[in-house]
Amino acid sequence: MTRAVNAVLRRDLRIETRTPQVVPGMALFAVSAFVVFHFALQQRSVEGNLAAGVLWVTLLLAAVLGIARQFVADREEGGFEGFLLAPVDRTALLVAKAASLFLFLVALEIVAVPAFLVMLLGPSPVEFWRLLLALLLADLGIAFVGTLVGALAVQSRARDLLVPLLALPLLIPLLIGAVKLSAPVFGGPAAAARWPWVLALYDLVFGLVAYAVFDFLLED
């Protein structure tokens, strides 16, 4: 199993470093979105709940871009079949794809969060660890849900429509948790202690669901 996860993960990372598409695309989108928000909200800076909202909406929409791209290369370049012909546990594909999506999201955030702090945030951030925790838990949840949605959509003819339509409602609870947890960082109201647990619960549930159903998406 680890052998297979290793193989797929290394291949995906190598493809992305060789011809970078997903990460630059997401990062560029995020920065553009911040510009759009500046003009749309007609504000020089944001703080509190508004700041958390702007950041997380942007991250979420950028993530949707990444989700849509995940399996496209596999479908077009025969990566699926190469994997399906191998004597490996098929869940390894789920783990590998979720891991690569997670890493891509981290790469996105390394660009997007500083950009946000510089471009739009008014007050200086406090209790920064809250934001890091929220990012970690959210990335995990997006990785699971995103891989599931990506695999569901890749077989359909309306792929680029379906991914946002499926992913956004599914990610709303995650968005709620992330915003609540990180709002104090930007000067917003204090977060109740339960929010990290809500996020963790979300990650657990969808991790389990993805693990349980993923095989059925691959078989024929």
């Binding site: 193989a7 291949r11 493809i15 190469g82 012909l85 191998a86």
Partner: protein, 225 residues
């Protein structure tokens, strides 16, 4: 192992939605022998190969590969089958070596074998260029390396030498040809050449087996009428 046939199909059925792609197909192939499958486009040749490759599940009848029943024990034979279909299953932005390493990791094969195979098909010097920059013949050679990388017992070949120049076709021969000594299932559109290398013949039309066992060249041509 013994006298058990390497491949045994009895009444195999496979549908695509409403259409029946394979309808009551039966054939037996002894180990080490070559089965050649003829038939016009859409007759079910590629579907048959994909069922044997465990990519598609049989929906009726029985299928046994290397003694194991599909789909129940498909996982047992997966590592012992090599498929060379229309798609090379290679990522175009990666090099031949990187692609083969991916498959080697998946199958648990040592990397030294990659170099040996690339040498055998004469591509060792171009092993680090992206697949995108290789000609079709070269890509097919790399795909053949991928197919035999894990030393499978059964080879499934979908028109392996179609559109290849003679040099490339010859390069494929020791890997996937008769001289490889492996059990093979090959689809072909060339009655003369196909029959020359066939131990067992299967002629499909509309999903049904019109020829089974052996056939004359005239009978094969009749299939395409």
């Amino acid at each position: 192992m013994g006298d058990a046939p390497a491949i045994e199909l009895a009444g195999l059925v496979r549908r695509y939605g409403e259409r029946t792609a394979l309808d009551d197909v039966s054939v037996a192939l002894p180990a080490g022998a070559t089965l050649v499958v003829f038939g016009p486009n859409g007759a079910g040749k590629s579907t048959l190969l994909r069922v044997l490759a465990t990519l598609l599940r049989p929906q009726g009848g029985t299928a046994h590969v290397l003694g194991e029943a599909l789909p129940r024990d498909a996982w047992k034979v997966r590592g012992r089958i090599g498929l060379l279909g229309h798609e090379p299953l290679l990522h175009r932005d990666l090099s031949a070596r990187e692609n083969l390493r991916f498959h080697a990791r998946l199958h648990g094969v040592a990397f030294e074998r990659i170099d040996a195979l690339l040498e055998q098909v004469g591509l060792r010097l171009r092993a680090d260029e992206p697949i995108r920059e290789l000609s079709r013949g070269m890509v097919q050679r790399v795909a053949a390396c991928r197919t035999v990388l894990h030393e499978p017992d059964v080879l499934l070949l979908d028109e392996p030498t179609a559109n290849l120049d003679p040099a490339a076709a010859d390069a494929l021969e020791p890997l996937v040809g008769r001289t490889s000594g492996r059990t093979r299932v090959v689809t072909s559109h060339d009655p003369a050449r196909g029959l020359a290398e066939a131990d067992v013949v299967l002629g499909l039309r509309g999903g049904r087996a019109e020829l089974s066992g052996s056939a004359t060249e005239a009978e094969v041509r009749e299939l395409y009428r």
